[in-house]
Structure formats: structure tokens, C-alpha cells
């Protein structure tokens, strides 16, 4: 398959080089002084005690890609294969099939090899149906290689649970 280079227009702040650098530096410096102050006052917990403690990640966080499950229990995916093509690590395998319902096509096989997935989110970006999105799930270590091959049934997550991510995504794709 021939590789293609696509130039993506990034939102403004990213193209101005210095602003994000300074913002990041500011955050680091602020943390440094806050921790220094805390240390001086005898503070003990400088980190989250995982797994007893967890914090809720922001919706911008990209965990493992999952499939959106519609309220009727079916996947939203129509097996168009765009994520499969967009995926830089070739870790998605789809075999489409036909149904009698109005949306005539569905993935009979939808596998993601999580040991190869790098959480880049290009699949989510390619999907024309909002059917694959990046979840907050990152705890996916397992003991066998086979275990890291996720099938369609394992990947389905109810739409309601993915709402924060979907709400975060939608404005980004809005048409001008």
C-alpha cells in the first residue's frame, strides 16, 4: 500500500510556536513551587495512590479505542474499513457482512490487536460514523498474546458511557 502524506490544518495556538511552550513551562514551574511549599509544610501525598485511588481523566485523554454500542445493542460501525486503512500499525481487522436492516452493512469481524495499538486516535478521526472512539481505558495488560486481541464483543461500550468523549469530539468536526 502506497503511503500518503496528508497535511492537516491544526488549530491556531499550536501553530504559534512559543505560546504552548511558555504555557507548559508555566505549569511546570507552578507545580514545582506548590510541591516545594507542600514539602515544607509536611505534606505526604505527592501522587495518586493507584490503584486504590484513581482520578477521572479529561475527555481529551486517548485510551484504548472502543466501538460505540447503540441503545439497541448493535454496533454503530458499518464496516466501511476507513479506520482499518488509517491505522498506522495495521492492528484493525474487519470483515464486513450484510444484514436485512436498513443500514445494510455491519462488521462480522472487528478485531483490534491492542498489543500493536499505539492509541494514536487516527481510527477515531477517520471514522465517518462516530463508531470508534478513544476510551479512558488503559488498564489492558494481560498474560498472553492472545488476550491482547480484542474482538467486537469485547470492544463494544454503550454510547452513554462514552458521552464525555463524544461531546468533546463533536465540536471539533462541526462544519463552518
Amino acid at each position: 500500500m502506497a503511503a500518503r502524506v496528508v497535511k492537516v490544518a491544526r488549530p491556531q495556538p499550536m501553530t504559534r510556536r512559543w505560546t504552548p511552550l511558555l504555557v507548559g513551562l508555566g505549569v511546570a514551574i507552578a507545580h514545582f513551587f506548590r510541591n516545594l511549599l507542600g514539602f515544607a509544610r509536611g505534606r505526604q501525598d505527592f501522587t495518586v495512590y493507584f490503584p486504590e485511588q484513581r482520578f477521572v481523566q479529561p475527555p481529551a485523554m486517548r485510551g484504548m479505542p472502543v466501538l460505540v454500542q447503540m441503545p439497541n445493542g448493535k454496533e454503530r460501525c458499518v464496516a466501511c474499513g476507513l479506520c482499518e486503512f488509517a491505522c498506522p500499525t495495521n492492528c484493525i481487522t474487519i470483515f464486513p457482512a450484510e444484514t436485512a436492516s436498513e443500514v445494510e452493512r455491519y462488521p462480522e469481524v472487528f478485531d483490534i490487536d491492542m498489543s500493536r495499538c499505539m492509541f494514536c486516535g487516527l481510527c477515531e478521526e477517520a471514522c465517518p460514523e462516530e463508531a470508534i472512539v478513544m476510551s479512558r481505558q488503559v488498564e489492558i495488560a494481560c498474560y498472553s498474546r492472545r488476550g491482547s486481541l480484542w474482538h467486537k464483543q469485547d470492544l463494544l461500550v454503550p454510547e452513554a458511557e462514552l458521552k464525555p468523549r463524544l461531546d468533546y469530539l463533536r465540536p471539533q468536526y462541526a462544519r463552518k
Binding site: A79, L82, E84, P96, A97, R105
Partner: protein, 526 residues
């Protein structure tokens, strides 16, 4: 020959035959002109209005498909008005086009997608809802129609009127209400119906066979030749994950224009048949290739010593390539075989593409002078086995199963002392075979076929065979080396070198010069 004329297109002078469509002349010169309704093998329709260009001296833009070239014509394609027209055509076509690309089988090779990306506006300007039409209509045994996707180019209509002359399709009603459909009393069932899916520039006509199967951008295409009848239509094998997903015709004006028959197009499943032999069988039990070769060479050598080579018969397969059959000819010559025959399955034929002989290379076997007689020696060989003169048989292919009545075949096979078979699937009739080698299909090897008219055409390997696998030619070569201590190899150019020295009709051709259109054998020969 028509006179050659010169036309200037955007300042560049191109040559064309006088009277040829200007569009074709520009396409032949490598100038990219968008078009939908024009097809080189169909009459001109002029319905899509996409191919318009400016011609000096004519006030309005002209459709280039319906403009014959004249000497000295000056054409402009890079013209603001031409660009406006192209954008307009795309916008009009997209007014009512469904947003089906994610589930449309044509996506990726769709002319509407490609041209919209190239010439279309990025945003639609309409607010009206899209027109509803029939979707997934079952219009034939092998075809589906989606009227919403149709852009009314009438290519399919012309195909059914002009090529198959069956006329099942028509565009009904007028203007905005126009829609493509079949007549009430007709279904799109003609033996060439699936070509309409190829020529349909969009995903309106789809084959049931390829419906929702695989995205076209994953397919790897290999130029080859259809193995299903003696016509030898040129095809592309579309493979993905070492499996064939479809066969599509490839243009060759000497053989099949741009068409192929439905039966040939659908005849690829045997390649992935789960029943296929995946390893040789020795006395009915799976064995390694070396065991099988040793056993076959031993049995053949032994048989020749005891009974003499003339007690051995051979049946050549019309499905194997010229090179393989040439090598088989050498093998049976080395064994001293006298009785050689070929079994060819026959079926319906017509006066267009479909030929009665349902094998790709029967003519090649005859041209190699391996078999003689009107029935390719079959009666003589079977008679010789029945009379006990021939007691051993080297059988390539299983066409015999369908050309000889079952009870006769049963008796004949039971009479044999030695049977060596090369076949696709195991069959209870071959239970007594000393060795059964798996045969290799057209998609898994390189070589040439000779079609009914004596055109030698290349087939190319599209699928990988398992490690250690030997194709038929390599089996023959290994046996020849074992029996005759030759040290021959089955590299194709070496085989062609030997074929040339042998002095048969193929010696006039050069293997490396057989291009995508094939090469015609000299008129001599049978």
C-alpha cells in the same frame, strides 16, 4: 486505415486517426479528461456532459466524446468555462446522491468520488432533502441495483442493448423523475450481466458476489487469464490476505474487449476450496513431498522395468500451462509412454465469448503435439486399458470424471496396476492410486495458456503457496530428474529455451516478449 490528423490540445500537438472521438484521442495521448458516459466499446451517448472542452471557432463548449477529430483542430481544456462546467456537473450529480460511500462497494474506485475530489466543491449548497429511490433492488440472479446512486449515464443500458442484445435495462420517465430499472418482464440475467457492474462508474450496479465483501483499496491486482474456458479472457485477479475476492476483466481487444462472462468471473472459489488436497497422498495416506516423489519415481521406474513403457498411458490436463505440459511431454517420452490422451470438459457455448471447451489450454496441448486425433486420443487410450494393453496410468486433472460415464471409468480404474494422479480434490475413485499429488491452480503459478485461437497469454502468480509446495511443472521436473537423471529445472525461461530447441510452434515466440495482450502463434499447426 484512417488518415492520421493532428490536433492541438492546450498547445500540445497530438496525433489521432481522422474521425476518432476527440475524447478518445486525448485520452490516448495521456490527457486527463473527466468523463462518465463514454466507453470505448459502446456507442456514444453524450448524456453526462462532463467531457466538455473549448474548440476554437465554435462559440459554445462541445462534448469531446461526440466530436470527431479534424485536422488542425485547436482544443482548450484549461479554460475557466470548462472548469465551471465540470464543477457544475459534479454539483448536479451530487444533488441527490446518497451519502453511501461508507457502505458502497464501489468506494475507492468510484468515478464520482474521484472526480468530486478532483473537481467538485467541498460543500453542498442545497437545503432540499435528497430524492428517495429504490435501494438494494434484486434485479437479477447475480446483480443488485441502487437507483439513488445511479447517475444516469446509460452505460449499462447500452451494454445490454449493444453487446448482449438482451435489452433488460432502461431509463424510465423523464427529467428529474428519470430512473434506471429493469423492464417488468425482464431480469438482468444474461450470461454477461456482471459486466454492467464494471462499467457502471458509480456503485449503482453491484454484483451480489462482491457485495459487502472487502474494500477495494485492500485488493492486490494481478494480470492473468481466465481459466474457465478456451476463450482465455484477460482478467485481473483481486486478492487480499492470500485469497481471491473477485475476478474482473482486463481489456484486450484481440480476445475479450473489456468483457468477460459471469460463469468465468464466478469460477474462482475452487482455489480456496476447503476440500482441496494440501499435501500429497501415498497409498491414501498424507505424505511429505519427498516421500511422494520417491514413491512415484520408484513405482514408475519399476513399472517400466516389469511391463515396458508402452504399458503405461498418460492423460494430459488442459488446465496446466504450456510449460508444464511441455515438461509432462518430456516426462512421458522418457518413460516410453505410447498412449497419451486429453480429457476436456464441454459445456454450453455462444458466438460471443463463451467457448464449449471448459479448459484454458487445450489448444496448447494440441500445439505441443502431445495428443493426436479428433477426440484427443481418449477413446484409443480407454480402449487400450480395457483390452489390457495399458496397465498403468499417469492422470493429470480430474476432467475424466465428468467426460467418461461413471461405471465405465470405475471399471477402467479398477483394471489398472499403477495409477498416479495429479488433482485438486481427493476423490473416492482414486482410492487405488499409488500417489496423488495436489495440483496447483492458475492463480498460484506463472506460465502461459494458449487460447482457442492460438493466442499465447501470460498467467501470473497472485497467491502464495505453502512452503515446500511444488507446482505441477516442478513435480514433472522432479520425476524426470529422478527417472532420467537430467538435472532439468523448471525456470520458465529455461523451459522456453528447451521448447524452442524442440522445434514446436512455440519456438517462433520469445517468452520474455509476451506482453499483456499475449502473442499469436503462427498460422501453422493444427
Amino acid at each position: 486505415m484512417a488518415k492520421t490528423v493532428h490536433v492541438t490540445v492546450d498547445g500540445r500537438t497530438i496525433e489521432a486517426a481522422e474521425g476518432a472521438p476527440l475524447l478518445q484521442a486525448m485520452l490516448d495521448a495521456g490527457i486527463h479528461i473527466p468523463h462518465y458516459c463514454y466507453h470505448p466499446k459502446l456507442t456514444i451517448d453524450g448524456s453526462c456532459r462532463f467531457c466538455q472542452v473549448r474548440i476554437e471557432g465554435i462559440p459554445k463548449l462541445q462534448i469531446s466524446c461526440n466530436t470527431p477529430v479534424r485536422d488542425g483542430m485547436v482544443v482548450k481544456t484549461d479554460d475557466p468555462e470548462v472548469h465551471t462546467v465540470r464543477r457544475g456537473v459534479i454539483e448536479l450529480l451530487l444533488l441527490n446522491h446518497p451519502l453511501d460511500c461508507p457502505i458502497c462497494d464501489k468506494a475507492g474506485e468510484c468515478w464520482l468520488q474521484n472526480y468530486s475530489m478532483e473537481f467538485g466543491a467541498r460543500e453542498g449548497r442545497t437545503i432540499d432533502p435528497r430524492r428517495k429511490r429504490g435501494k438494494r433492488l434484486d434485479i437479477g440472479e447475480r446483480m443488485l441495483l441502487d437507483q439513488e446512486r445511479c447517475i444516469l449515464c446509460r452505460r449499462c443500458v447500452r451494454f445490454c442493448n449493444e453487446i448482449t442484445k438482451t435489452g433488460e435495462l432502461h431509463i424510465f420517465t423523464l427529467g428529474d423523475h428519470s430512473k434506471l430499472d429493469i423492464y417488468d418482464d425482464a431480469r438482468l440475467d444474461n450470461p454477461y450481466s456482471m459486466n454492467t457492474a464494471d462499467i457502471c462508474p458509480v456503485g449503482a450496479l453491484e454484483t451480489k458476489d462482491f457485495h459487502h465483501k472487502i474494500r477495494v483499496w485492500f485488493l492486490e491486482e494481478t494480470a492473468s487469464v481466465c481459466p474457465s474456458c478456451a476463450n482465455g479472457c484477460n482478467i485481473m485477479i483481486s486478492a487480499y490476505r492470500n485469497r481471491i475476492w473477485r475476478l474482473v476483466p482486463r481489456r484486450n481487444d484481440e480476445v475479450n474487449d473489456t468483457w468477460m462472462c459471469d460463469a468465468g468471473r464466478l469460477n474462482y472459489r475452487f482455489v480456496a476450496d476447503p476440500e482441496r488436497l494440501r499435501a500429497p497422498l501415498v497409498d491414501g495416506a498424507p505424505a511429505t513431498w519427498n516421500e511422494a516423489l520417491d514413491r512415484a519415481a520408484g513405482a514408475l521406474g519399476d513399472f517400466r522395468k516389469r511391463q515396458g513403457g508402452s504399458a503405461l498411458g498418460a492423460i494430459v490436463s488442459p488446465h496446466l500451462t504450456n510449460e508444464e505440459n511441455f515438461r509432462f511431454g518430456e516426462l512421458i517420452h522418457a518413460l516410453g509412454v505410447q498412449q497419451v490422451a486429453m480429457a476436456v470438459k464441454r459445456g454450453p457455448a455462444d458466438d460471443f465469448l463463451i467457448k464449449a471447451e471448459k479448459a484454458a489450454n487445450a489448444r496448447g496441448v494440441r500445439e505441443l503435439r502431445i495428443v493426436q486425433g479428433d477426440d484427443d486420443g481418449i477413446e484409443a487410450l480407454l480402449g487400450a486399458i480395457e483390452s489390457g494393453m495399458v496397465k498403468g496410468l499417469y492422470l493429470c486433472g480430474d476432467d475424466l470424471l465428468e467426460t467418461v460415464p461413471a461405471d465405465r471409468l470405475e471399471r477402467i480404474l479398477a483394471q489398472l496396476e499403477l495409477l498416479i494422479v495429479q488433482t485438486l480434490r481427493p476423490n473416492p475413485r482414486f482410492a487405488r492410486a499409488a500417489v496423488i499429488f495436489p495440483t496447483t491452480t492458475f492463480a498460484e503459478k506463472d506460465g502461459t495458456f494458449t487460447n482457442h485461437a492460438g493466442r499465447v497469454q501470460r498467467i501470473r502468480k497472485a497467491l502464495e503457496t505453502p512452503a515446500g509446495w511444488l507446482n505441477d511443472g516442478e513435480i514433472f521436473t522432479a520425476l524426470l530428474n529422478a527417472i532420467d537423471a537430467r538435472g532439468a529445472s523448471f525456470a520458465l525461461d529455461r523451459v522456453w529455451g528447451e521448447m524452442a530447441r524442440d522445434g514446436n510452434v512455440f519456438s517462433a515466440l520469445d517468452f520474455n516478449e509476451i506482453g499483456p495482450r499475449g502473442m499469436q502463434l503462427a498460422a501453422a499447426g493444427k
